[in-house]
Each structure stands twice: as C-alpha cells, then as structure tokens.
Symmetry: C2
Subunit: 269 residues, 2 copies
C-alpha cells in the first residue's frame, strides 16, 4: 500500500503565480463574456461564484485576497491534521484533497472529498478545530478567505459559506448511504456521478468527461472497498459501456440513465 501523509510539506514556500490576473478576470466575468481570458480564472473561484450571486466589488475583493494568500501544496502532503486549530477559512483553488482517517491496523477511509471551490474551516464556532486530517491527493492550490464574522451577513460570500456547509453535509450523507446500503457497483457509479456533478461548476468537466486523478487504491479508500475489487468493478462498468476511464480522465456515457439505474440523487438546492 502506498503511503500518503508527509507532515509539514512546503505549505509555506511558494506564493502567488497563477493568481496573477485573477482579479481582472473575475471582474470581467459576467453571463455574456463566455470565452477569451475567462479561461484563466481558477476552477475554485469559478465554482465559488456559482454558489451565489456575488456582486462585482465582492468578486474583486475575493480575487485579490486569493491572489495575495495563495499557497501551493504538493500531492500527498497534509494540508491539515486532526486537532489542528483552523485560523481562517481556506478555499481550494485547484486540485483535489480529502479528509481521511486511518485505523491502527492500516485500514484507511476517505471521509469526504475536497474539490476546487470547496471550503475548509468555515466550520463551527469561533475556535474551529479540524475534525480530520486533510491530505492533498494531487498538487493543490489554496487561498485564505475572510472569517465569517468579518463578513456582512447579507453579502454573497456569507451566503456562499452557508450553502457550502449545506453541500458538505449533503455529500457526507451521500457517503453514508453509499457505504451503508449500496453494492460496490452502485457505489462506484454513484461516486463518479457525484464527481461529475461537483466538477462541472468548476469548469473542469464537460460532456460527461472529467479529470480522474484518483488511483484505484484511493477510490477503494473512498468507497470502503479493496483496490482489487474496485478494479474488477470498474471493468464491469467499462464492459457495459457505462464509463471510460484512462489517461487520468473519466467519461460517463449516459449520466442520466446511470443516475436512474443506481438511484443517484442530486442536492435539493
């Protein structure tokens, strides 16, 4: 089994770099301006903007803050360890991370995924503490965002925080359903559907296709299975033409039909 976890990575090393033109671009983004330099907006900011309607001034402030506070983290390093105090909210600008827990005997469970546009540490109360270790699954870019108390309660960002928490909960419940009551086949199908659904607003998924950086072993840790069984189940899904996986990409060929088949549910908001 491969080993994740490498405490204290270069979290504090590199600064800005991709955040360069974010501010202007964020401002530029309006429903009509669909192409051009719009591409350069980070997936995380794009996804954040889909959560609520953010006005121009807010977008500028967020984009600047993202630029100023951006950090890059290498795959496999720990973003956060269980019990750590969380000083300020963090936004995932790009890359994948996950909350995980490991048992003494080595069994490992991925608790929830953190994808571009997801927030960490907007939790609960004034002294939030990480409830689980967070590991970067790919190279990840993150930035700080204002604490909830610093926000105008009626601002778009405050609403985005609220919605983000609700979605977190929704996906935790989905995870519980998967692990408790779905077969391996259904779990994987449901999981892939969720990935597509969550990546799409970040602008990194289109037409049923999305990046799939997870190894089969990590998928196994996410689904409470072994990597061998994930492998065999993926083969079944491929054989049936449901999905194509390879080259770090996945494609769902009949998302709607598949969702129907495995009873996949989308968030109700």
């Amino acid at each position: 089994m491969e080993i994740l976890h490498e405490r204290n990575p270069d979290m504090a090393t590199l600064d800005g770099d991709t955040g360069r033109e974010m501010a202007e671009q964020a401002v530029t983004r309006s429903p009509e301006t669909q192409s051009a330099h719009r591409k350069e907006v980070s997936p995380g900011l794009r996804r954040l903007a889909t959560l609520t309607s953010l006005d121009e001034a807010e977008l500028i402030r967020i984009a600047f803050m993202a630029e100023r506070t951006q950090r890059r983290v290498k795959a496999r390093s720990e973003l956060m360890r269980e019990g750590d105090p969380i000083a300020r909210p963090l936004l995932i600008l790009s890359g994948w991370a996950a909350r995980m827990r490991t048992l003494s005997n080595g069994r490992r469970q991925l608790l929830s995924l953190l994808l571009p546009g997801d927030l960490m540490g907007i939790g609960r109360g004034h002294q939030p503490v990480a409830l689980s270790t967070i590991v970067a699954l790919t190279d990840v870019a993150i930035c700080h965002l204002p604490r909830q108390e610093e926000l105008d309660p009626d601002s778009g960002l405050a609403a985005a925080y609220d919605l983000s928490r609700t979605l977190d909960d929704h996906y935790m419940l989905a995870q519980i359903m998967r692990l408790g009551r779905l077969t391996a086949y259904e779990r994987i199908a449901d999981f892939l559907l969720e990935l597509y659904e969550r990546l799409e607003p970040a602008g990194v998924a289109r037409g049923g296709s999305f990046p799939m950086p997870l190894t089969q072993e990590l998928m196994a840790d996410a689904m409470g299975l072994t990597s061998v069984h994930v492998n065999r189940t993926l083969q079944a899904l491929r054989r049936e033409g449901v999905v194509t996986i390879g080259n770090s990409m996945a494609t769902l060929h009949q998302p709607a039909a598949l969702a129907e088949m495995v009873g996949h549910r989308v968030p109700i908001f």
Copy 2:
C-alpha cells in the same frame, strides 16, 4: 420489514406536562446539589447544560422556553421530512430519533442518531432546510430554542450550538468510518460505545448500562447490515461477555477494554 414513517403525527397536540418544574430545577442545578428534585430535569436539558457553562439567567430562559414550546411525538412518526424548511432550532428533551433515508428498493439507512440533548435545525444559513427525513424511534419530547441570530454571540447557548454542530460532524465521521472500514463485530461494538458515551451526559446511562430501545432491525439499518447478521453478531458479543442486552437495556462490561479492542475514538473536545 417493519414500516416506519407516518406523516404528520400529532405533533401539534399535547403541550407541557413534564416541563412543569423545569425552570426551578434548572436553576437549582449547581455542582453541589446532586439529588432531590434534580431528578426531574429532562435528559435533554441536562445534556445541553453539560455542553457549555450556562449561567443562571440563561438556564431559566431555556427551561421556560422548553416548557412553553414542548411537544410530544409518538414513536414511528416523522419529525421532519427531507426538504422541509426548518423554522427554528429544536432540542430533543427525551427519547430517540434518527435521520434516515430510504432507497427505492426499500433499503434503508440510518444516517445519524438524535439523542436527548441533541439539536436539530441549527444548521446552516438563514433558511435551513432538512437534508434528511427525521423519524422518532421512540416516543420523543422536543422543544424550540432561539435561533442563532437571536442569541448573544458570547452566550453559553451560542457556544452550545457551536459545540453541538461540531459533535454532529464528529459522529457523522464516526458513522462513515464504521460503515466503510469496520467489520460487523467492530461496528456494533463501536456503536454501543458511542451510545453509552452520548447518553451518559444526559443522565440516562450509568455504570456501563443504558436504555436500548432499538430493535435489531433498526440497528441493522444504522450499521449497514441485515438484521439477521446483527442478531448473530450480538450473540457473539454476548458469548464473549462483552455486552448484555435485554429488557430494552444494554450493559457494556468492559467499556475501556472494548474501546481499545475495536479502536473506538472519543471526540477530541
């Protein structure tokens, strides 16, 4: 399979009755006053008071509000349905409830338990919506509490809301670990340990013993197993002298040793 769910019970029927002397008693409660009428405080209020230090004035207000707004709900009825708006926070004064979801084919999963002192609808944002149906597993008494926005942010109750949310999350993560990576034997042991741990501050568990109103089928729904397998696994636990179950009570004989054996973790706060 037994059918839960009975939409719209007599939620709106009976009023106060056990809440009679709550106010005085709540006030009376101080570390020294251990016995006497103290017994009459509802498990839910007792548990709530253990979450943070509530000053006298706060206790009085809460106890009065509990008395004024108390409702009783019969076992098997729905307290709330997925998608319902949640007008105000609810506190469980006594009895057990659960968040559950059912799949089209009848498979059912208990997502999380709600025990005396647990809160519902302190969720997220200003327009919280129930993410899952909530079913009363036993007869339940509930009451309203103030909305977070109505509280002094520095009050003990606000702190209790924060802590309650954190604990909710903790127990959801525990549920994910159980379902994803524990064997049936470990799941049940871990679950029983959690029950004891959560019921103790409500004053309804002592010396390893606690009320156990769940049928084996409900335990199965909680643990992602079948009732037949729960039955067999419970027999193993009994045979090994780990637990005694019967007469709607359960007793753990070596909680500490059991926790060690199955790697059970307690909340870190």
